[in-house]
Amino acid sequence: MSAAQRDPSVTGRPEAPLLRGQEGYSDNVTGRKRQARRWELLFIVSTLVGIVALGSLLYNVLDSAYGLVAIDVKVDPASLARGGVALEALPASELATLLREKLKKRDLKTIEKEQPLAARSTEDLLGIVQTKVVGVDVVGTWVLSDSLLRRRAIEAELARTHPNATLTFKSWLRPAFLSSQQSPDPMLSGVRSAILGSLWTILVTIVVALPLGVAAAVYLEEYAAKDRRLTQVIQTNINNLAGVPSIIYGMLGLTIFVRLLEPLTSGAWLTGATSATANGRTILSAGLTLALLVLPLQIINSQEAIRAVPGSLRQASYGLGATRWQTIWAHVLPSALPGVLTGTILSVSRAIGETAPLVVVGASTAIFQDPSGPFSKFTVLPIQIYQWTSRPQAEFRSIAAAAILVLLAMLLSLNAAAVFLRNRTQVRH
């Protein structure tokens, strides 16, 4: 084609295609491509924002969980050494005597009320000696980023305000944090009872939600006629329950388990306690509430696992003359088990982080003893985090961050287990 042919004025055909640079040619491709690049950038940036959000979440927790602490001392610990043994190396009995000598009666009484001196660990006693006798006083805490980047300025400021104070780098997440009871003093407080409370609660939740969820899923997948009205009602209902805010479950648990079933959930029927002393705010109530909360999730996950079992397996079993239940028990369930367990781990990781319903059900905040069973009063890890976050002092922020790291570590190991299970099932099928 020659240029003359393409010119509309020559050929009289305005529909003929135009090329770039010709008269009457309008180029919208460049603009559209520019727009496309802009949108693509927007999409990528949005995704990056999501990653940055996760990153700053983790950064923020780590930042608060480690950092410099300035400690001022009233009494020189060296003067407290007995018989040439340094304070840190004294046995529990010596520390207890030391406390009885040095402390005021009133302070001693408060401490004994929490837990008798004789029953406390050496570490615990040493902590008390350090706060009450030596007078270890936290005069300042700094987050990790400040500690690393502004160390000079911090030291200069501290020298001016508290010349005797010593500056040490502290990891708030330390073995003692895991093993010691909570305490009003953030330097000594730990998450031992909270971890145990969480584990007990989760145990109750699993014991209730796993069989109930699997049973319901088996009924819906293997027995119920799909087109029956009742089946549809149950199915819709399960989907709706999954969307109910968790705090509503807390109110349900408070009314049903804590109040209505108090004789049962408080353990009064076992110990023979009178109704006056019975208290339904126990691990059992909390575990049952969480079980109801994760039940929809558990049912839906179990249903998916059961649905994934190939029909040929059932037909083979029926063909050999097995009954329906024999087929389910001997073939469907074992084959669906890894999927069911993966689903269970997912519901457990939901339950382990739940805070609001347990606040409503009434987890206690001041617990200085290990929970001893399903009828104990309790606290759980997320509630401990909530309590500490709500305090204004920076030290409590730091131990809240340390507790968050413990919680995240628990969740991470659960999820790792789920991934491990999922991979195993993929190999088998």
Binding site: R32, Q35, A36, W39, E40, L42, F43, I44, S46, T47, V49, G50, I51, A53, L54, L57, N60, V61, S64, P211, L212, A215, A216, V218, Y219, Y223, I234, T236, N239, L241, G243, V244, P245, S246, I247, I248, G250, M251, L252, L254, R259, L292, L295, T323, R324, W325, I352, G353, T355, A356, V359, V360, G362, I385, Y386, T389, R397, A401, L408, L411
Partner: protein, 324 residues
């Protein structure tokens, strides 16, 4: 079908052994298996537990809320129209709690809807399979972080940033803006993953048609795929709103402790869920007005979220495009 002739050899073999013809006929009859029926009804009861849970929720909230409204100092009109929530002086207007809930949810949605949708479009239409394989687990991790951790994040990270940007005297320590933003971050993974599912369900033939007509990738994504997946996206958005309305720990930690009727996002205000948590966290007598009032708020919260969830299901059922 079993032919009589075919049965013959079997019967003969039966005659050889000790089994008589009569016994054999009895064996062919279906056996009664009482255990099967017991097990089936047991499983049915387990399936009913979820229905009982719903019934329990409605009964508990309804009963206690009714007891609240039957109190002499409470009227339904005041509950709906009153602008002060102060049970200690018999003021029961739920509006401050509702407005704070709407405020945090709206701020959250301003973050979560575009962010979640864009992430979904990127994952579904742009990202290479390998990138997707890296990004999806990150989203799942973000979705699995407990809400109390997000509350910590809001109070110790987002609030100081807001204070640095807008000034300490403008932004209070407890404010709805920080809580709302973090609620947005919290529901973003939910929006992204539900939206991605919806986009994924759009058949490739539509994409190929759009591209073959000369559309750029973004025109294909925004003018073909997104409209085709609209019902799924709408459902995702509504579920996200419902989640934001019911979100508790972030607002309980970061939004403030005290009902306040304000539209200023830099001031503290208490949401419905936040109020329930704060009040029930203290020692509360089961007969007090405060206790009963919590259930009225809870009922309202339940109805709002249930309505939103039902709406989302209706949209999916009604407007879903079914592709071959």
């Amino acid at each position: 079908m079993v032919e009589p002739q075919r049965m013959k050899p079997l019967v003969d073999r039966g005659a050889l052994s000790t089994v008589t013809d009569v016994d054999f006929a009895a064996r062919l009859r279906p056996q009664r298996r009482p255990w099967e029926a017991v097990i089936e009804s047991g499983l049915f009861v387990a399936a009913l537990v979820s229905v009982l849970t719903t019934a329990g929720i409605i009964y508990v909230l309804g009963y206690e809320a009714l007891r609240f409204f039957l109190l002499p100092q409470v009227t339904l009109t005041e509950f709906v129209t009153g602008t002060v929530w102060q049970p200690s002086i018999d003021q029961f207007g739920v509006m401050p709690l509702v407005s704070a809930t709407l405020l945090t949810s709206m701020i959250g949605m301003l973050v979560a809807l575009p962010l979640g949708l864009f992430i979904a479009v990127y994952l579904s239409e742009y990202a290479a399979p390998r990138t997707r394989g890296v990004l999806k687990p990150i989203l799942e991790v973000l979705a699995g972080v407990p809400t109390v951790v997000y509350g910590f994040f809001a109070l110790t990270f987002v609030t100081p940033i807001l204070q640095n940007i807008f000034g300490r005297n403008v932004v209070e320590i407890y404010n709805t803006a920080s809580a709302g933003l973090v609620v947005g971050i919290l529901v973003t993974p939910l929006v992204a993953s539900m939206s991605e599912d919806a986009l994924h369900a759009v058949p490739d033939s539509l994409r190929q048609a759009a591209l073959s007509l000369g559309a750029t990738r973004h025109e294909m994504a925004l003018r073909v795929v997104v409209p085709a997946a609209l019902s799924g996206l709408a459902a995702a958005f509504i579920v996200a709103i419902s989640r934001a309305v019911g979100e508790t720990m972030v607002v309980a930690i970061a939004a403030g402790a005290g009902p306040a009727l304000t539209l200023n996002p830099f001031k503290g205000a208490e949401t419905m869920a936040g109020h329930i948590v704060r009040i029930s966290g203290g020692d509360l007598s089961y007969d007090s007005v405060d206790y009963k009032s919590l259930f009225a708020i809870g009922l309202l919260l339940f109805l709002i979220t249930l309505g939103l969830n039902l709406l989302s299901q209706r949209i999916v059922a009604r407007y879903r495009e079914v592709y071959e």
